[in-house]
Symmetry: C2
Subunit: 236 residues, 2 copies
């Protein structure tokens, strides 16, 4: 927790906030070993960042005097289109992408996504939000990514994907496709990444027909969470 | 498991091998749904890769006829110098770096590494080897990374690090250092990455004095496992 993220219901007035949730109070006490008078990095969820002077701390609450004086880090210009990973990997991947600065994620169904994954408790909005918040607290960012679920491949690709691709550079990451992953681009990008086992040929063809460029990361086959981080780090 | 990695004791003769360990037998049956006659990607641990025709499969063993006809993917030209992460993160990080093609890792002590981490069962050679093997099986590689432990910072940095740095480009990744992480380099590189909480100033100074270049990945503070993957993907 490199940033104390203040939620709307934690503000007392414009310059004072109070934390009451046990996870963050414990972290303040045990990891930061914070004492009254300490200045910590804080941010308003969805807003600006700055510092918070700790005015009081006990087992049930921590009060801060807050000065917000700067913007959070720039987001990555990417909309991530990710085949739904298995639940444990989803949790970690959401944390990574939130920390890396992705602000739009669409989790989609593809042939090799197990149908049971869509029933996982990890997909509950509150669960996903918790992982995204951990990523923001880690990276020092305040703006939550927006997550959309697309549980059927064909209607998504035929009816909604063309509009998402307007004014975006579509990149389809898949082992064996033609082009090496480009580096240091700044185009607004729609980046599609397949499930463990990859996209099937039919799916690859649908993306390429719509104008996605096929890219690869080399001969090594990476796990989804490794591939997502590697692609984002290389692209932007 | 995208590669069946054949260990020295699993060869019957030059072209035949037999698997008996339950993990891989289960994977063959449940994930690959392999049947006699199937051809699978195999590799000799530390050696070449090719294909294996499944000659027999039952609950206790799988026999293959093996043809090895190509080299494993090129390694990354990097020696990773990593402050020992906490045990759970160490396990995942070893899997990532093995999959990404790192062949030399030194795990070192620094001020912000908790001393108790050095007692973790995750540091047992057999445990680390297991994670490294999973990375190779994932990425389709055959050559195990070599791991060295350096439990004391000062003797390591003073007595052994200068020799490791000979003919290598030293890069020290730390938030706030001068230079943006370079991209697409091909120099043999010694890459130092700190613990959660970072290197302390004294440690940064020691590395810079020895000739390491200080680099950063931007304002975001990443978890060690995310930072390692992001740095390797951007550098190489």
């Amino acid at each position: 927790m490199n940033l104390i993220l203040l939620h709307p219901d934690e503000w007392i007035d414009d310059t004072h906030a109070v934390l009451r949730d046990p996870r963050r109070l414990r972290h303040l006490a045990d990891v930061h070993r914070a004492v009254v008078g300490d200045c910590l990095t804080v941010g308003a969820l969805g807003g600006r960042m700055g510092r918070g002077e700790l005015l009081s701390l006990n087992d049930t609450e921590a009060q801060f005097r807050v000065t917000l004086d700067r913007e959070p880090p720039a987001p990555l210009p990417v909309h991530l289109l990710l085949a739904l990973p298995r639940p444990r990997m989803l949790a970690r991947t959401l944390e990574h992408v939130s920390a890396l600065g992705v602000k739009r994620v669409t989790l989609m169904h593809t042939r090799r996504v197990e149908k049971s994954y869509w029933q996982s408790p990890e997909l509950k909005p509150e669960k996903m939000r918790q992982h995204l918040l951990l990523g923001l607290e880690q990276a020092r960012d305040t703006r939550l990514p927006e997550i959309t679920l697309e549980t059927r491949f064909k209607p998504f690709v035929e009816d909604r994907l063309p509009a998402l691709l307007e004014d975006q550079r579509g990149l389809l990451a898949h082992p064996g496709l033609a082009r090496e992953c480009p580096r240091a681009i700044s185009d607004p990008t729609l980046l599609a990444i397949g499930p463990e086992g990859g996209f099937v040929d039919y799916e690859v063809d649908r993306f390429l027909e719509l104008g996605f460029e096929g890219i690869h990361l080399g001969e090594r086959i990476l796990r989804v969470e490794t591939a997502v981080t590697a692609l984002l780090a290389r692209l932007f």
